[in-house]
């Protein structure tokens, strides 16, 4: 097994853990954590393909990842703010109960 395969297997595992967490948990914060895990699995793939890819260019993969992390941080901030707002309204952060926007 090449180091690339190992990396991809690890990131797949990470992604699955994140997916399960996001799908199974009802606490919105934990759902958000799951989403972050999936995002980081994708970041790991970026690094792996950059490091072991056929044409390693100087910093492309790292740049992508840094951008991705910045976007993730912003997204987390928005997500947490939403959670706080939801909590203020209905004194609960259960995701199942935050269904006011249904059609």
């Amino acid at each position: 097994m090449s180091p690339l395969h190992l990396c991809l297997l690890f990131s797949s595992a990470l992604f699955c853990i994140g997916l399960v967490g996001a799908l199974a948990r009802s606490n919105t914060i934990l759902v958000l954590l799951g989403v972050e895990l999936m995002l980081n699995a994708a970041n790991l793939n970026f690094i792996a393909f950059w490091r072991y890819g056929p044409t390693p260019s100087p910093a492309t993969g790292v740049m992508f990842v840094i951008f991705s992390i910045a976007v993730a941080a912003a997204e987390a901030a928005v997500g947490l703010a939403l959670i706080i707002a939801v909590y203020r309204h209905q004194k609960s952060i259960r995701l199942q109960e935050a269904n006011r926007l249904k059609g």
């Binding site: 996001a22 799908l23 995701l95 199942q96 935050a98 269904n99 926007l101 249904k102 059609g103």
Partner: protein, 666 residues
């Protein structure tokens, strides 16, 4: 001391400033308002004296200072100040008499709650009048003319809580406005034909040879020259302002104002404006126009004197005497003696101011009783007022030799006698002299002799010095001023016509006329004494001797020849008929058209609405309904269950991945 024409604006500006101060000051600032008014007018008087000495040094020149007011396209509208003996004499008189009247008002208006406003209006009045005098542009003159009208309206209606005062103010304003319409038309026509409204402008002014020649030669309809027509239109303004027949009706009613106002209107300012205007534009007046002026003047002189005979109100008698005296002045203008007119205007200003202030003193002392039947016996109680009032009366009557009115009236009679035109005005003026003597004797006898016929008259007492001092000063001038223009040494007339040398005549020159007028005065006084002096009125209710002799005539005179009724029956009825017709026309003809159009609009609106609701709206409603249904159907997908969404994403991802792997995409 000399004054350049450039600074002439100071004379009206100072009272205007005082009026502004008084207007802005709080209601309680009584002494500030009065002080500012008196101080400003007194300062104006000193400036006027400087102007007078300048003008007298060069009586033949018209010192002017013109400037551009504003530009309108290629045209400029110039205004200017004018300094000549006429302006200077008038300014000096107005400021001097005005100051005395202001001081008198201190005492007379002392108890009035609106003391501050009174001095504000008085200052405005004086400012407007002085502006009118120094104007070198007929436009500026007209502006000030209208300001005088406004101020007179404010002052006559000063006690506006009295309905009669409010009505009198309106009457004065509207009546003079009728004349002003003619004045304005004359101005426009003059501007159209002469191209300027400046009086003197280095040969380009309307009173200078070029313009006069052009105006005189241009003929218009009915054989009148343009100059005659313009002169008569300007005279319309003077008729309104100077209370000439047939617009004299406002002047007696103007007595509703406080007495100092009457003095100011009747002596120094408003009524003098008309005579001043005619003297000012005298070069413009053609023989045709002058003939009309002479006849109007003579009619007014006679009319005023006749009506005054049967009046009972102290101030109203004086008002009609003013109407009569203004008639004399107009007569003098009409017979070609504007200098005599101004001479009489100046002397009249002093003795009429004296008479009005004297009447004010009587009225103040008698607690606002001004019916001469209720007065009486005041000669003993108010010695100073009586003495000065008697001097004023004798000047008005024209008691020979020692009183100013004699000399100025003599100058007018002389001019009317020597005129080449008709002598009818002269005879009217002679009758006027008799009547003047008659009604003034009656006035003095009823007011001052005998015993008091009412509680107020019995308890009257002399007023304070602030009111009597102006009387004494005016009385002095009522005598002294006559000597400025005696036939032996006609200094005033010479200066007014721009001569430095005085060509006197022998007093014997017109001695026949003089004797005649002395006889006429004596007849008038004698008749008055015979009717009213020998047997004094016993009670307030006892009948007038003239009323017993000729009750119908007396009542007719007492009703002021029914002029008000005549106007009410003619112009009033015509006016209300026109108004009714216009109202009917408005309501039914124009209103009908408007209503028809409105109905038409309403109908088309209804049609539109129906088309909208049935046609257009139906289509839109159906479409909207469909869109809504579709939206509702799709909105079921959005369950609000975040896990559900996530699950769908995961499943879709897996499906896509499988398709990609096994479908041979990768």
């Amino acid at each position: 001391m000399s004054l350049s024409a450039q600074y002439l604006w100071l004379i009206p500006a100072l009272p205007l400033l005082a009026a502004t101060i008084a207007a802005l000051a709080p209601r309680s600032a009584r002494s500030l308002a009065a002080g500012a008014a008196i101080l400003a007018l007194a300062t104006s008087f000193f400036i006027s004296c400087a102007a007078l000495s300048t003008a007298l040094a060069n009586p033949a020149t018209h010192l002017t200072h013109n400037f551009v007011w504003f530009e309108l396209g290629n045209d400029t509208v110039p205004l200017g100040w004018l300094l000549d003996p006429l302006t200077a004499f008038m300014c000096t008189m107005v400021t001097f008499v005005g100051t005395l009247i202001f001081i008198f008002s201190l005492g007379y208006m002392h108890e009035d709650a609106n003391f501050k406003q009174f001095f504000c209006f008085l200052s405005l009045f004086a400012a407007a009048m002085l502006g009118l005098l120094v104007a070198n542009s007929l436009l500026l003159l007209f502006i000030c003319w209208e300001l005088v009208g406004l101020a007179s309206y404010l002052l006559i209606g000063f006690w506006f809580h009295k309905p009669s005062a409010a009505a009198a103010a309106k009457k004065a304003f509207i009546t003079t406005r009728i004349g002003d319409l003619g004045f304005l038309l004359g101005l426009l026509w003059l501007y159209d034909s002469a191209g300027s409204l400046l009086l003197y402008d280095n040969g380009h002014g309307v009173l200078e040879a070029t313009a006069l020649g052009a105006l005189g030669s241009a003929a218009t309809l009915c054989g009148l020259t343009v100059a005659s027509a313009i002169g008569l239109l300007l005279f319309c303004g003077a008729v309104g302002k100077s209370g000439q027949f047939p617009l004299h009706v406002w002047l007696p009613d103007a007595m509703e104002g406080p007495t100092p106002v009457s003095a100011l209107i009747h002596a120094a300012t408003m009524v003098a404006a008309g005579v001043f205007l005619m003297a000012r534009v005298y070069p413009l007046l053609t023989p045709d126009a002058l003939r009309v002026i002479a006849f109007i003047g003579a009619i007014t002189a006679l009319l005023g004197a006749v009506i005054a005979v049967a009046q009972y109100d102290l101030k109203r008698i004086l008002a009609f005497s003013t109407v009569s005296q203004l008639g004399y002045m107009m007569l003098a203008i009409g017979v070609g003696a504007p200098n005599a007119a101004i001479f009489h205007l100046l002397t009249h200003a002093f003795f009429k101011a004296l008479l009005f202030l004297g009447a004010g003193s009587v009225i103040h002392a008698a607690h606002h009783e001004q019916d001469i039947r209720q007065l009486g016996g005041l000669s003993a109680k108010m010695k100073l007022t009586f003495a000065t009032f008697a001097i004023g009366t004798m000047a008005l009557v024209g008691v020979p030799l020692f009183f100013s009115g004699f000399w100025s009236k003599e100058a007018i009679l002389h001019a009317a006698h020597t005129t080449t035109g008709s002598h009818l005005p002269f005879y009217a003026a002679l009758i006027g002299v008799v009547l003047t003597a008659f009604y003034n004797t009656r006035l003095i006898a009823e007011t001052f002799f005998g015993h008091g016929r009412s509680h107020a008259a019995e308890h009257a007492h002399e007023n304070s010095a602030v009111m009597t001092t102006p009387l004494v000063i005016l009385a002095f001038f009522a005598i002294a001023l006559g000597f400025l223009g005696t036939p032996a040494y006609p200094w005033l007339q010479a200066r007014l016509s721009g001569e430095t040398a005085v060509h006197g005549h022998s007093l014997l020159d017109g001695v026949g006329l003089m004797v005649l007028s002395i006889v006429l005065v004596a007849v008038g006084i004698g008749a008055g004494f015979a009717l009213y002096g020998r047997k004094l009125r016993a009670k307030a209710t006892s009948p007038d001797p003239l009323a017993t002799a000729a009750p119908g005539l007396h009542a007719f005179l007492g009703a002021r020849l029914k002029f008000d009724e005549l106007y009410a029956a003619t112009f009033g009825v015509l006016n209300s008929f026109t108004a009714t017709a216009a109202d009917w026309f408005d309501r039914y003809v124009w209103g009908g058209i408007v209503h028809f159009l409105a109905l038409l609009g309403e109908f088309s609106g209804t049609v539109n609405r129906e088309a909208d609701e049935q046609g257009l709206n139906g289509g839109f409603d159906a479409t909207s309904e469909k869109i809504r249904g579709t939206g509702q159907a799709y909105s079921r997908v959005q369950t609000g269950d975040a896990h559900g969404y996530l699950r769908w994403i995961a499943v879709s991802f897996v499906v896509l991945a499988l398709v990609a792997i096994f479908g041979g995409v990768v």
